[in-house]
């Protein structure tokens, strides 16, 4: 469960202060699949960075699974990102010279988990890539690369998956396949937050949060679908 309370974020550009978020309050339950949409400049990326514990809010409170995240230091945030959040990026962000397996094992390296190979193989299998584990990213198609990235996000058994335009670099058919994986994961109980500007993608989710000018439009969390 994820609770945001009156979150603001102000960037300083020289003397002027640019507010990116102006008081976001919302709540995402465990097991929900939510999309965050909005035009560019609406504060989507900033909100995603805060939810992903990559950035700290200027003011407000953010509780992730009951932990007050806004008060943690850099190292503690790194641990939260490692254990509780699975990132999926538009451009996959795989290490190009390492195999799919090694890419998936990467988050496990940072928490000293044992039996890394076994767990990595298991999640790769669950996203349908069990047969290509020794391939390098350059030898994989875009959809396959994104599956590796999803496997990497899943490998630490996180509380939520945070996907930033996960289908932005994929064709329609592959996008549908990737969305099918997310849907299936959600059905198995995984909390999923999708940041997107494509209504087609948002349509896969149960709820859409619309951002405009750093605020949630209508200041409520809208139910849809």
């Amino acid at each position: 469960m994820l609770e945001l309370e009156n979150i603001t974020k102000v960037y300083k550009a020289g003397q002027t202060e640019v507010p990116a978020l102006r008081g976001i309050t919302c709540r995402i339950e465990s097991g929900e699949m939510v999309s965050i949409i909005g035009p560019s400049g609406s504060g989507k990326s900033t909100l995603m960075n805060i939810i992903g514990c990559l950035d700290k809010p200027t003011s407000g409170w953010y509780r992730l699974d009951g932990t007050e995240v806004s008060e943690l230091n850099d190292n503690q945030l790194a641990e939260i990102r490692n254990k509780k959040i699975g990132f999926v990026f538009q451009s996959f962000n795989l290490l190009s010279r390492t195999t799919a397996l090694a890419n998936v094992e990467l988050p496990l390296i940072y928490n000293g988990a044992g039996d890394r190979r076994q767990r990595a193989l298991q999640v790769l299998d669950s996203v349908g890539l069990g047969h290509r584990v020794t391939h390098r990213p350059s030898e994989l198609a875009g959809g396959e690369q994104q599956r590796v990235a999803i496997a990497r996000a899943l490998v630490n058994n996180p509380s939520l998956i945070l996907a930033d335009e996960p289908t932005g670099n994929l064709d329609t058919k592959t996008s549908q396949e990737i969305m099918a994986i997310f849907t299936k994961l959600n059905e198995q109980g995984m909390t999923i937050i999708l940041v997107t500007h494509e209504p087609d993608i948002a349509a896969y989710t149960q709820r859409t949060i619309k951002l405009r000018d750093g605020q949630i439009e209508g200041s409520t969390c809208l139910k849809s679908g």
Binding site: N75, N93, R97, P107
Partner: protein, 410 residues
């Protein structure tokens, strides 16, 4: 992040760019092999010097004119045969005295001809100066008293004039006068090196023949007096005795300087070793500069590597890498680069020393290649330190990168 994972990540990253890694290592490799060869050659040289002094004999004292030096051709003529006799007669700690006078002269024999040092010696020289006869005989007391025209050849002179033939019984001409060869000395090889290149004749004969033309100026002067002391713990006492005797015979008044020098082999050995040590340090220092250059090369490449991998760093941070993890990763990468370079450098340095040893041996200067443990420890240690030091700044830069901006980096 466990240290082992850091290592595998570092090695993976380095293997990912093999050519660049090898070129970067080259700097450290060359530096370490230079340091290793300098130190190994130094060690071999020190061993040779030690050996040389050992063949000269530990209980030996040399008395030379003040302006001369051990092995000099002609010093200032302040020492005489009389001085040698006085030392032999009066110094209680002394067991043997052997004066030597030498001069250059033309030597003809066996159809060859060379300009060689002619050393006039006394029979005592055989054991005082530790000469070993390989073939034939040494100069005898009879030869000395009778001013016989007999000569003992240093091994190289013999080789030059007569090749492999035993020259005993052959005649040679020194400064146009005929001499009979009665023996050849064993090769000293080491030592000061000049012993093998001399022709030895009785000192008395030298004065009456080869040096007769110089007799007016040099009288019965000698260039060096070798003194064998009873035991090594009496070296100091002998030194003082000799000084006192010579000051007396030379009529040197209190307050005036000696016109001779008393050198004991142990202290000469110490001085030479000291000078060689300093020389070695200087050379190793120069070789060390190339290590520094290698370090700068590593820093340069690590900075490039950090810049190239900003997105990777961002991703690693996003999935849970702490600053410390990123710092360690890049430090280990640079340390691995320099460690590998250092290890190969030790091997290469050893090969260089081996080759030099073989070449030098073929040229007639045999020395045993040796690789002292401290040389390995020192050069590899310095290499790793340089790797860490030059990797530190790039690693700190990498660790400080902001994950959000790094992920956005193109």
């Amino acid at each position: 992040m466990k240290i082992w994972d850091c290592f595998t990540a570092a090695i993976r990253a380095l293997l990912g760019n093999k050519l660049r890694s090898i070129l970067t290592m080259l700097g450290i490799l060359i530096g370490v092999s230079a340091v290793i060869s300098v130190l190994s050659l130094g060690a071999a040289q020190s061993a040779i010097v030690e050996e040389s002094f050992a063949t000269l004999g530990a209980n030996l004292i040399y008395v030379i004119p003040r302006e001369g030096s051990v092995g000099a051709m002609v010093g200032e003529a302040t020492l005489t045969v009389g001085d040698a006799e006085a030392i032999a007669r009066q110094a209680s700690s002394v067991v043997g005295v052997a004066p030597t006078a030498q001069t250059y002269a033309q030597v003809v024999g066996g159809g060859e001809n060379l300009n060689s040092l002619i050393a006039g010696i006394t029979p005592e020289a055989e054991w005082v100066d530790n000469y070993a006869v390989a073939q034939g005989d040494f100069i005898t007391l009879f030869d000395y008293r009778a001013r016989s025209r007999v000569a003992v050849l240093g091994s190289e002179v013999s080789q030059t004039l007569f090749g492999e033939i035993d020259p005993s019984g052959q005649s040679i001409r020194i400064s146009g006068r005929q001499f009979q060869v009665i023996g050849v000395l064993e090769t000293r090889g080491t030592g000061f090196g000049f012993e093998d290149m001399r022709v030895y004749i009785p000192l008395s004969t030298l004065y009456s023949t080869v040096a007769a033309s110089q007799a007016g100026s040099r009288g019965n002067s000698v260039d060096m007096i070798s003194v064998q002391v009873e035991s090594s713990d009496r070296l100091e006492a002998a030194d003082q005795e000799i000084t006192a005797i010579l000051r007396d015979t030379h009529n040197i008044r209190v307050g005036e300087e000696d016109d001779f020098r008393v050198l004991n082999i142990a202290s000469v050995a110490e001085q030479v070793t000291q000078v060689l040590g300093i020389l070695q340090l200087v050379l190793a220092g120069i070789a060390g500069i190339s290590l520094l250059v290698g370090g700068i090369g590593i820093m340069n490449i690590m900075l490039v590597s950090v810049t190239e991998r900003i997105r990777e760093i961002g991703l690693r941070k996003a999935i849970g890498a702490k600053r410390r993890d990123i710092l360690t990763q890049f430090l280990i990468e640079s340390a691995t680069l320099s460690l590998c370079g250092g290890a190969v450098g030790v091997g290469l340095g050893w090969i260089i020393v081996k080759i030099m040893s073989v070449v030098a041996t073929n040229l007639g200067f045999p020395f045993a290649a040796r690789l002292p443990g401290y040389a390995i420890a020192l050069s590899v240690g310095v290499a790793i330190l340089i790797g860490l030091a030059s990797g530190l700044y790039p690693a700190v830069r990498a660790a400080r990168l902001d994950p959000i901006e790094s992920l956005r980096h193109e």
